[in-house]
Symmetry: C2
Subunit: 300 residues, 2 copies
């Protein structure tokens, strides 16, 4: 199971108590931080997400509302004595900026910071239980979306049954992968008599900041949860386009084309105090929509 | 009159709802921002200080808890269409960092940002109603304090009296400076019969982060309000020294040596949830002490 917590859902300027973009995607063991606007370290502590659980950070682009909180978070990790490696996937300009900031403070981090420059679409992280792909979206500057896919979980063996069928432990791996067992007499024991299906592998796509771009639909095809920005309501489609952002109905249209299960919209413009209309407009296009609300944890 | 509002009073890592260092010193016309930790733009809006009133920013040193909020504030000023010049006094490393951040966002500010590198002790700003001096304090990296002095205010002329004495308007400036008037008959009319004294010029010294350093007392001699850091309680004097910070009683000792009217202490370590002992310990040395509390406005 994946769980996504929204730490910031506002566009460029903080407003109405809403913070700039940051999200945390959690599995049972790991926490993946996606973008890191100013104040993210405070939001993490407000919503009880431990800094120490974060080993991978993904920064979509170099607009400040998506990364100004990163150096503060990294510095705090250092000050509190982190020793575990930290993996940062980001546009290349960020590396020099971070290094200058660390140098100016005469600061040597007590952990290793691995920097991976975003440059080509494809898999950028291949972990034991998760892969992460990056893909291009269309913004005023280079901007990347991220697609998180859980790996297929192994089936669970029922101990009493494998014992009673006298199945050798050397065959357990195959059982977990779904193979049937054939005993010495040639009798086939079907896998689903011996194992229980695992939770299905889930997927989450984060589309960062983007103008309406139909090519994105293919890239996030059939994901369980799609986050698409909806900076403006539908009446401001022209302004959205001028600023390389999307509207409510455009986010809904991408969700339909992509055939996703559920849509989450965010990156709301600071001009709006109330968000109800965002939901109404988007859900009229794609009913299974929710607003990305700070502090809310969306189970995937 | 000067009024100082505390926007952040905590040391390096935000804790217990306390923010990293930032202060705003206001006159009737101007607001001077002193340091700018992460989240300062949010604190400004929380305490109803208009960004547009800030024309001068002073950054003491390159530890992040004193400047990580600056790029966010400057970006927001740009996004909201500021056109007035902004004057930034800071260590030279900050210029390149800001420039890289603006370049990476493909961002041209709609206002002029004047950067003044801190390099020598002395007057760094000489305005119509205020001078600002910088002075060195003793920290792990180069660190500067700032001394704000209101210029002597002109005396107010009493219109009925200057008319009845038939004093020419060409002499009004001299009257405001305190000169007596001698009429054609050689009669001296004393200034204090013609004018009313202005409010006395006030002074405020901000000592940033520093180890206990007696030489600072001379630099802030007789100011109306002294801000001195007190990162630790007195029992942690050794830890304070190792980290180039001060304790409560050390802040009090500087206030006594400097003969200041009032002392404000802040930059409290994240290890302390309660602050009462900071006041008790410091006031035992220098009675006219207050804690720097966020959102509180200290009249000078």
């Amino acid at each position: 199971m994946l769980a996504l917590t929204i730490l910031g859902n506002n566009s460029a300027i903080p407003a109405f108590g809403r913070n700039p973009t940051a999200q945390i995607l959690q599995t049972q063991d790991e926490a993946y931080l996606i973008d890191c606007g100013e104040g993210t370290q405070l939001q993490l502590s407000r919503y009880k997400v431990k800094r120490s659980k974060i080993n991978h950070i993904f920064i979509s682009h170099m607009h400040g509302d998506h990364y100004f909180g990163l150096i503060g978070l990294i510095s705090s990790m250092g000050l509190t004595g982190r020793t575990a490696d930290l993996h940062l996937h980001a546009p290349e300009q960020l590396q020099q900026i971070l290094q200058l900031q660390l140098d100016a403070a005469n600061n040597t981090l007590p952990f290793r910071l691995h920097f991976y420059r975003l440059g080509e679409e494809g898999i950028i992280y291949n972990g034991k239980k998760m892969t992460v792909e990056c893909f291009k979206v269309s913004h005023r500057i280079d901007c990347w979306g991220f697609l998180f896919r859980e790996k297929k979980n192994p089936r669970s063996i029922v101990p009493e049954l494998v014992k009673s069928y006298e199945i050798p432990s050397s065959f357990y791996d195959a059982l977990q992968q779904g193979y049937d067992y054939t005993n010495k007499k040639g009798t086939i024991i079907p896998n689903d008599e011996l194992t229980i299906a695992a939770n299905p592998a889930k997927s989450y796509a984060y589309c960062a900041d983007t103008i309406y771009d139909e090519s994105i639909a293919k890239k996030v095809h059939l994901v369980d949860l799609l986050y698409h920005e909806a900076t403006y309501l539908k009446d401001l489609q022209q302004r959205a386009a001028e600023r390389f952002h999307s509207t409510t109905v455009q986010a809904g249209a991408i969700a339909i084309k992509a055939g996703v299960k559920k849509l989450l919209i965010g990156h709301f413009s600071s001009k709006y105090e109330e968000l109800d209309a965002f939901l109404t407009e988007t859900a009229a296009v794609f009913p299974n929509t929710e607003l990305a609300l700070e502090g809310v944890c969306y189970k995937i």
